[in-house]
Symmetry: C2
Subunit: 210 residues, 2 copies
Protein backbone atom coordinates (compact mmCIF):
# COMPACT_ATOMS: atom_id res chain seq x y z
CA UNK A 1 0.00 0.00 0.00
CA UNK A 2 1.40 3.41 -0.93
CA UNK A 3 1.92 6.13 1.69
CA UNK A 4 -1.02 8.03 0.28
CA UNK A 5 -3.27 4.98 0.44
CA UNK A 6 -2.23 4.37 4.05
CA UNK A 7 -2.98 7.97 4.87
CA UNK A 8 -6.39 7.76 3.20
CA UNK A 9 -7.31 4.56 5.00
CA UNK A 10 -6.23 5.74 8.44
CA UNK A 11 -7.67 9.20 7.99
CA UNK A 12 -4.19 10.55 8.78
CA UNK A 13 -3.04 13.48 6.67
CA UNK A 14 -1.42 12.68 3.37
CA UNK A 15 1.72 14.55 2.43
CA UNK A 16 -0.34 17.09 0.56
CA UNK A 17 -2.24 17.98 3.74
CA UNK A 18 -5.71 17.34 5.06
CA UNK A 19 -8.69 17.31 2.76
CA UNK A 20 -12.13 18.44 3.89
CA UNK A 21 -13.74 15.13 2.95
CA UNK A 22 -13.83 12.87 5.96
CA UNK A 23 -15.51 13.58 9.28
CA UNK A 24 -12.06 13.40 10.82
CA UNK A 25 -10.75 16.11 8.50
CA UNK A 26 -13.81 18.26 9.11
CA UNK A 27 -13.19 18.04 12.86
CA UNK A 28 -9.58 19.11 12.32
CA UNK A 29 -10.47 22.10 10.12
CA UNK A 30 -13.19 23.21 12.49
CA UNK A 31 -10.74 22.83 15.39
CA UNK A 32 -8.18 24.88 13.45
CA UNK A 33 -10.61 27.81 13.16
CA UNK A 34 -11.90 27.64 16.74
CA UNK A 35 -8.53 27.06 18.42
CA UNK A 36 -7.06 29.98 16.45
CA UNK A 37 -9.77 32.35 17.64
CA UNK A 38 -10.49 31.08 21.16
CA UNK A 39 -7.43 29.11 22.23
CA UNK A 40 -7.06 25.53 23.38
CA UNK A 41 -8.58 25.56 26.85
CA UNK A 42 -11.50 27.83 25.99
CA UNK A 43 -12.64 25.70 23.06
CA UNK A 44 -14.94 22.90 24.14
CA UNK A 45 -14.99 19.64 22.20
CA UNK A 46 -18.81 19.82 22.25
CA UNK A 47 -18.70 23.04 20.24
CA UNK A 48 -16.52 21.45 17.55
CA UNK A 49 -18.68 18.31 17.40
CA UNK A 50 -21.83 20.41 17.18
CA UNK A 51 -20.46 22.53 14.34
CA UNK A 52 -19.42 19.46 12.34
CA UNK A 53 -22.72 17.78 13.24
CA UNK A 54 -21.13 14.76 14.84
CA UNK A 55 -22.89 13.13 17.81
CA UNK A 56 -21.40 13.82 21.21
CA UNK A 57 -19.24 10.98 22.36
CA UNK A 58 -17.95 10.20 18.86
CA UNK A 59 -14.82 12.25 19.37
CA UNK A 60 -12.78 9.43 20.89
CA UNK A 61 -13.52 7.31 17.87
CA UNK A 62 -11.33 9.73 15.92
CA UNK A 63 -8.79 10.99 18.46
CA UNK A 64 -7.19 9.57 21.59
CA UNK A 65 -7.87 12.75 23.58
CA UNK A 66 -8.04 16.54 23.26
CA UNK A 67 -4.25 16.82 23.38
CA UNK A 68 -3.80 14.41 20.48
CA UNK A 69 -6.45 16.38 18.60
CA UNK A 70 -4.56 19.62 19.34
CA UNK A 71 -1.34 18.13 17.96
CA UNK A 72 -3.06 17.24 14.70
CA UNK A 73 -4.67 20.66 14.48
CA UNK A 74 -1.21 22.24 14.82
CA UNK A 75 0.21 19.88 12.16
CA UNK A 76 -2.66 20.76 9.86
CA UNK A 77 -2.23 24.50 10.34
CA UNK A 78 1.55 24.27 9.96
CA UNK A 79 1.23 22.40 6.65
CA UNK A 80 -1.53 24.70 5.38
CA UNK A 81 0.46 27.82 6.23
CA UNK A 82 3.67 26.38 4.82
CA UNK A 83 1.90 25.79 1.48
CA UNK A 84 0.52 29.34 1.51
CA UNK A 85 4.02 30.67 2.14
CA UNK A 86 5.72 28.47 -0.45
CA UNK A 87 3.11 29.33 -3.09
CA UNK A 88 4.36 32.93 -2.91
CA UNK A 89 8.04 32.11 -2.48
CA UNK A 90 7.99 29.87 -5.58
CA UNK A 91 6.20 32.45 -7.74
CA UNK A 92 8.91 33.36 -10.21
CA UNK A 93 6.79 36.10 -11.76
CA UNK A 94 8.26 38.30 -9.01
CA UNK A 95 11.74 38.99 -7.60
CA UNK A 96 12.50 37.20 -4.32
CA UNK A 97 11.84 40.04 -1.86
CA UNK A 98 8.59 40.93 -3.62
CA UNK A 99 7.44 37.34 -3.15
CA UNK A 100 7.87 37.66 0.62
CA UNK A 101 6.11 41.00 0.44
CA UNK A 102 3.19 39.39 -1.44
CA UNK A 103 2.90 36.72 1.25
CA UNK A 104 2.70 39.45 3.89
CA UNK A 105 -0.01 41.29 1.94
CA UNK A 106 -2.10 38.13 1.66
CA UNK A 107 -1.82 37.63 5.40
CA UNK A 108 -2.84 41.19 6.13
CA UNK A 109 -5.98 40.59 4.10
CA UNK A 110 -6.51 37.27 5.87
CA UNK A 111 -6.35 38.97 9.27
CA UNK A 112 -8.69 41.76 8.12
CA UNK A 113 -11.21 39.14 6.95
CA UNK A 114 -11.62 38.00 10.56
CA UNK A 115 -11.50 41.53 12.00
CA UNK A 116 -7.96 40.95 13.33
CA UNK A 117 -9.29 38.51 15.92
CA UNK A 118 -7.79 35.22 14.80
CA UNK A 119 -4.10 35.84 14.36
CA UNK A 120 -1.81 32.86 14.02
CA UNK A 121 -2.81 29.52 15.56
CA UNK A 122 0.79 28.54 16.21
CA UNK A 123 1.65 31.88 17.87
CA UNK A 124 -1.54 31.78 19.94
CA UNK A 125 -1.08 28.22 21.16
CA UNK A 126 2.63 28.80 21.75
CA UNK A 127 1.68 31.58 24.12
CA UNK A 128 -1.13 29.63 25.78
CA UNK A 129 0.46 26.19 26.07
CA UNK A 130 4.23 26.79 25.90
CA UNK A 131 4.57 26.99 29.67
CA UNK A 132 2.41 24.08 30.65
CA UNK A 133 2.98 21.45 27.98
CA UNK A 134 6.44 20.47 26.74
CA UNK A 135 5.09 18.39 23.87
CA UNK A 136 3.17 21.33 22.41
CA UNK A 137 6.09 23.66 23.11
CA UNK A 138 8.61 21.61 21.12
CA UNK A 139 6.08 20.91 18.34
CA UNK A 140 5.35 24.64 17.93
CA UNK A 141 9.02 25.65 18.02
CA UNK A 142 9.69 23.10 15.25
CA UNK A 143 6.95 24.73 13.14
CA UNK A 144 8.64 28.13 13.43
CA UNK A 145 12.01 26.59 12.53
CA UNK A 146 10.49 25.10 9.41
CA UNK A 147 8.82 28.37 8.30
CA UNK A 148 12.13 30.13 8.93
CA UNK A 149 13.94 27.78 6.57
CA UNK A 150 11.47 28.67 3.84
CA UNK A 151 12.03 32.42 4.33
CA UNK A 152 15.78 31.90 4.59
CA UNK A 153 15.72 30.24 1.15
CA UNK A 154 13.90 33.26 -0.24
CA UNK A 155 16.50 35.63 1.21
CA UNK A 156 19.32 33.57 -0.33
CA UNK A 157 17.60 33.94 -3.67
CA UNK A 158 17.50 37.72 -3.08
CA UNK A 159 21.26 37.56 -2.54
CA UNK A 160 21.67 35.81 -5.89
CA UNK A 161 19.48 38.46 -7.51
CA UNK A 162 21.62 41.19 -5.93
CA UNK A 163 18.81 42.79 -3.88
CA UNK A 164 20.20 41.65 -0.54
CA UNK A 165 23.81 42.20 0.53
CA UNK A 166 26.02 39.11 0.07
CA UNK A 167 27.30 39.38 3.66
CA UNK A 168 23.79 39.28 5.18
CA UNK A 169 23.12 36.24 7.38
CA UNK A 170 19.91 34.86 5.83
CA UNK A 171 19.20 32.42 8.66
CA UNK A 172 19.43 35.18 11.25
CA UNK A 173 17.30 37.51 9.15
CA UNK A 174 14.67 34.80 8.66
CA UNK A 175 14.54 34.16 12.40
CA UNK A 176 14.34 37.92 12.98
CA UNK A 177 11.49 38.06 10.49
CA UNK A 178 9.40 35.38 12.21
CA UNK A 179 10.09 36.72 15.69
CA UNK A 180 8.89 40.14 14.61
CA UNK A 181 6.05 38.91 12.43
CA UNK A 182 4.47 36.97 15.30
CA UNK A 183 4.84 40.07 17.47
CA UNK A 184 3.10 42.09 14.76
CA UNK A 185 0.23 39.60 14.50
CA UNK A 186 -0.24 39.74 18.27
CA UNK A 187 -0.17 43.53 18.22
CA UNK A 188 -2.68 43.75 15.34
CA UNK A 189 -5.11 41.82 17.51
CA UNK A 190 -4.81 44.67 20.02
CA UNK A 191 -5.08 47.57 17.57
CA UNK A 192 -7.70 45.73 15.45
CA UNK A 193 -6.08 47.06 12.30
CA UNK A 194 -3.14 46.21 10.05
CA UNK A 195 -0.89 49.07 11.18
CA UNK A 196 1.48 46.87 13.24
CA UNK A 197 1.77 44.42 10.32
CA UNK A 198 2.44 47.32 7.92
CA UNK A 199 4.97 49.01 10.18
CA UNK A 200 6.80 45.78 10.83
CA UNK A 201 7.02 44.78 7.17
CA UNK A 202 7.87 48.29 5.92
CA UNK A 203 10.67 48.60 8.46
CA UNK A 204 11.90 45.05 7.86
CA UNK A 205 12.35 45.62 4.14
CA UNK A 206 13.69 49.16 4.59
CA UNK A 207 16.34 48.00 7.03
CA UNK A 208 17.59 45.03 4.97
CA UNK A 209 21.16 45.69 3.78
CA UNK A 210 21.34 46.18 0.02
Amino acid sequence: MSKQETAKKSGRPSKSGYSHNTVRDKLIWCGTALLTEKGFHSTGLEEILRQVNVPKGSFYHYFKNKEAFGEEVIDNYAAYFSRKLQKHLDNDAYPALQRLHNFIEENKQGMAKYNFQRGCLVGNLGQELGNSNDKFRTQIEAVFQSWQQQVSGCLRLAQQEGTLAKEANCDYLAEFFWIGWEGAVLRSKLTRNDQPLSIFSAQFFALLPH
Copy 2:
Protein backbone atom coordinates in the same frame (compact mmCIF):
# COMPACT_ATOMS: atom_id res chain seq x y z
CA MET B 1 -5.20 66.36 51.15
CA SER B 2 -2.36 65.88 48.61
CA LYS B 3 -2.67 63.39 45.75
CA GLN B 4 -0.20 61.10 47.50
CA GLU B 5 -2.15 61.20 50.74
CA THR B 6 -5.36 60.42 48.86
CA ALA B 7 -3.62 57.52 47.17
CA LYS B 8 -2.30 56.23 50.50
CA LYS B 9 -5.67 56.44 52.18
CA SER B 10 -7.60 54.77 49.38
CA GLY B 11 -4.94 52.14 48.81
CA ARG B 12 -4.84 53.29 45.17
CA PRO B 13 -1.38 53.53 43.65
CA SER B 14 0.48 56.78 44.10
CA LYS B 15 2.22 58.26 41.08
CA SER B 16 5.44 56.54 42.07
CA GLY B 17 3.76 53.13 41.84
CA TYR B 18 2.55 50.52 44.28
CA SER B 19 4.44 49.80 47.46
CA HIS B 20 4.53 46.33 49.02
CA ASN B 21 3.14 47.60 52.32
CA THR B 22 -0.60 47.20 52.38
CA VAL B 23 -2.56 43.98 51.95
CA ARG B 24 -4.03 45.52 48.83
CA ASP B 25 -0.58 46.11 47.34
CA LYS B 26 0.55 42.62 48.32
CA LEU B 27 -2.44 41.18 46.46
CA ILE B 28 -1.54 43.23 43.38
CA TRP B 29 2.12 42.18 43.39
CA CYS B 30 1.21 38.54 43.91
CA GLY B 31 -1.35 38.86 41.10
CA THR B 32 1.32 40.41 38.89
CA ALA B 33 3.59 37.37 39.32
CA LEU B 34 0.85 34.75 38.94
CA LEU B 35 -0.97 36.39 36.03
CA THR B 36 2.35 36.79 34.19
CA GLU B 37 3.14 33.11 34.54
CA LYS B 38 -0.29 31.48 34.32
CA GLY B 39 -2.55 34.00 32.61
CA PHE B 40 -5.79 35.61 33.74
CA HIS B 41 -8.30 32.78 33.48
CA SER B 42 -6.02 30.06 34.85
CA THR B 43 -5.14 32.03 37.98
CA GLY B 44 -7.64 31.48 40.75
CA LEU B 45 -8.32 34.25 43.25
CA GLU B 46 -8.06 31.64 46.01
CA GLU B 47 -4.43 30.99 45.06
CA ILE B 48 -3.57 34.69 45.33
CA LEU B 49 -5.40 35.10 48.64
CA ARG B 50 -3.69 32.00 50.03
CA GLN B 51 -0.22 33.20 49.02
CA VAL B 52 -0.78 36.60 50.62
CA ASN B 53 -2.38 34.91 53.63
CA VAL B 54 -5.66 36.77 53.36
CA PRO B 55 -8.87 34.96 54.34
CA LYS B 56 -11.07 33.78 51.51
CA GLY B 57 -13.92 36.14 50.89
CA SER B 58 -11.86 39.25 51.70
CA PHE B 59 -11.06 39.90 48.07
CA TYR B 60 -14.16 41.98 47.41
CA HIS B 61 -13.23 44.24 50.28
CA TYR B 62 -10.29 45.38 48.14
CA PHE B 63 -11.53 45.01 44.55
CA LYS B 64 -14.88 45.19 42.84
CA ASN B 65 -14.27 41.97 40.89
CA LYS B 66 -11.55 39.95 39.19
CA GLU B 67 -11.64 42.21 36.13
CA ALA B 68 -11.07 45.36 38.22
CA PHE B 69 -8.22 43.51 39.94
CA GLY B 70 -6.75 42.59 36.53
CA GLU B 71 -6.86 46.23 35.44
CA GLU B 72 -4.90 47.29 38.50
CA VAL B 73 -2.40 44.48 38.03
CA ILE B 74 -1.81 45.70 34.46
CA ASP B 75 -1.42 49.31 35.68
CA ASN B 76 1.04 48.15 38.30
CA TYR B 77 3.10 46.14 35.84
CA ALA B 78 3.03 48.94 33.27
CA ALA B 79 4.32 51.47 35.80
CA TYR B 80 6.93 49.07 37.19
CA PHE B 81 8.23 48.22 33.73
CA SER B 82 8.20 51.85 32.64
CA ARG B 83 10.41 52.76 35.62
CA LYS B 84 12.78 49.90 34.79
CA LEU B 85 13.00 51.14 31.20
CA GLN B 86 13.42 54.82 32.11
CA LYS B 87 16.11 54.00 34.68
CA HIS B 88 18.26 52.77 31.80
CA LEU B 89 17.21 55.41 29.27
CA ASP B 90 18.09 58.21 31.73
CA ASN B 91 21.49 56.76 32.59
CA ASP B 92 23.82 59.33 31.06
CA ALA B 93 26.88 57.25 31.87
CA TYR B 94 26.16 55.57 28.49
CA PRO B 95 25.39 56.74 24.95
CA ALA B 96 21.68 56.50 24.00
CA LEU B 97 21.72 53.24 22.03
CA GLN B 98 23.82 51.54 24.70
CA ARG B 99 21.15 52.49 27.27
CA LEU B 100 18.51 50.63 25.26
CA HIS B 101 20.94 47.75 24.91
CA ASN B 102 21.46 47.71 28.72
CA PHE B 103 17.69 47.58 29.25
CA ILE B 104 17.49 44.56 26.92
CA GLU B 105 20.31 42.82 28.77
CA GLU B 106 18.57 43.32 32.12
CA ASN B 107 15.41 41.81 30.67
CA LYS B 108 17.25 38.82 29.29
CA GLN B 109 18.56 38.15 32.79
CA GLY B 110 15.07 38.70 34.20
CA MET B 111 13.60 36.10 31.86
CA ALA B 112 16.44 33.65 32.60
CA LYS B 113 15.74 34.02 36.33
CA TYR B 114 12.29 32.50 35.80
CA ASN B 115 13.51 29.88 33.30
CA PHE B 116 11.93 31.83 30.39
CA GLN B 117 8.46 30.94 31.64
CA ARG B 118 7.08 34.31 32.67
CA GLY B 119 7.61 36.63 29.75
CA CYS B 120 5.79 39.93 29.71
CA LEU B 121 2.50 40.30 31.59
CA VAL B 122 1.17 42.84 29.12
CA GLY B 123 2.07 40.73 26.08
CA ASN B 124 0.61 37.61 27.69
CA LEU B 125 -2.67 39.21 28.72
CA GLY B 126 -2.93 41.02 25.38
CA GLN B 127 -2.83 37.64 23.71
CA GLU B 128 -5.22 35.99 26.16
CA LEU B 129 -7.78 38.76 26.64
CA GLY B 130 -7.45 40.99 23.57
CA ASN B 131 -10.18 39.15 21.68
CA SER B 132 -12.72 38.81 24.44
CA ASN B 133 -12.46 42.01 26.44
CA ASP B 134 -12.35 45.46 24.85
CA LYS B 135 -11.48 47.22 28.09
CA PHE B 136 -8.35 45.10 28.60
CA ARG B 137 -7.52 45.39 24.89
CA THR B 138 -7.48 49.21 24.88
CA GLN B 139 -5.71 49.37 28.25
CA ILE B 140 -2.93 47.06 27.02
CA GLU B 141 -2.53 48.87 23.69
CA ALA B 142 -2.13 52.15 25.63
CA VAL B 143 0.65 50.57 27.69
CA PHE B 144 2.57 49.67 24.53
CA GLN B 145 2.07 53.19 23.16
CA SER B 146 3.53 54.64 26.32
CA TRP B 147 6.58 52.33 26.34
CA GLN B 148 7.08 53.19 22.66
CA GLN B 149 7.24 56.90 23.45
CA GLN B 150 10.01 56.21 25.95
CA VAL B 151 12.06 54.29 23.38
CA SER B 152 11.32 56.90 20.72
CA GLY B 153 12.84 59.56 23.01
CA CYS B 154 15.95 57.44 23.36
CA LEU B 155 16.27 57.09 19.59
CA ARG B 156 15.93 60.87 19.16
CA LEU B 157 18.80 61.28 21.60
CA ALA B 158 20.83 58.86 19.48
CA GLN B 159 20.12 61.12 16.50
CA GLN B 160 21.48 64.09 18.45
CA GLU B 161 24.54 62.04 19.36
CA GLY B 162 25.03 61.13 15.70
CA THR B 163 24.69 57.35 16.16
CA LEU B 164 21.34 57.16 14.36
CA ALA B 165 20.70 58.66 10.91
CA LYS B 166 18.90 62.02 11.06
CA GLU B 167 16.32 60.85 8.52
CA ALA B 168 15.28 57.81 10.61
CA ASN B 169 11.66 57.88 11.80
CA CYS B 170 12.11 57.35 15.55
CA ASP B 171 8.40 56.73 16.25
CA TYR B 172 8.24 54.01 13.59
CA LEU B 173 11.48 52.44 14.82
CA ALA B 174 10.21 52.47 18.41
CA GLU B 175 6.98 50.78 17.35
CA PHE B 176 9.02 48.29 15.30
CA PHE B 177 11.14 47.65 18.39
CA TRP B 178 8.20 46.84 20.65
CA ILE B 179 6.41 44.74 18.05
CA GLY B 180 9.53 42.65 17.60
CA TRP B 181 10.51 42.60 21.25
CA GLU B 182 7.18 41.13 22.32
CA GLY B 183 7.55 38.55 19.56
CA ALA B 184 11.03 37.72 20.89
CA VAL B 185 9.73 37.34 24.45
CA LEU B 186 7.02 34.98 23.23
CA ARG B 187 9.52 32.97 21.23
CA SER B 188 11.97 32.72 24.14
CA LYS B 189 9.21 31.05 26.12
CA LEU B 190 9.16 28.38 23.41
CA THR B 191 12.92 27.90 23.08
CA ARG B 192 13.45 28.29 26.85
CA ASN B 193 16.61 30.27 26.20
CA ASP B 194 17.60 33.84 25.33
CA GLN B 195 18.49 33.15 21.69
CA PRO B 196 15.37 34.84 20.22
CA LEU B 197 15.96 37.90 22.45
CA SER B 198 19.62 37.99 21.40
CA ILE B 199 18.90 37.55 17.70
CA PHE B 200 16.19 40.17 17.75
CA SER B 201 18.27 42.78 19.57
CA ALA B 202 21.47 42.07 17.60
CA GLN B 203 19.61 42.40 14.30
CA PHE B 204 17.68 45.45 15.47
CA PHE B 205 20.84 47.39 16.32
CA ALA B 206 22.74 46.08 13.29
CA LEU B 207 19.99 47.19 10.92
CA LEU B 208 19.54 50.71 12.36
CA PRO B 209 20.68 53.31 9.80
CA HIS B 210 23.85 55.12 10.91
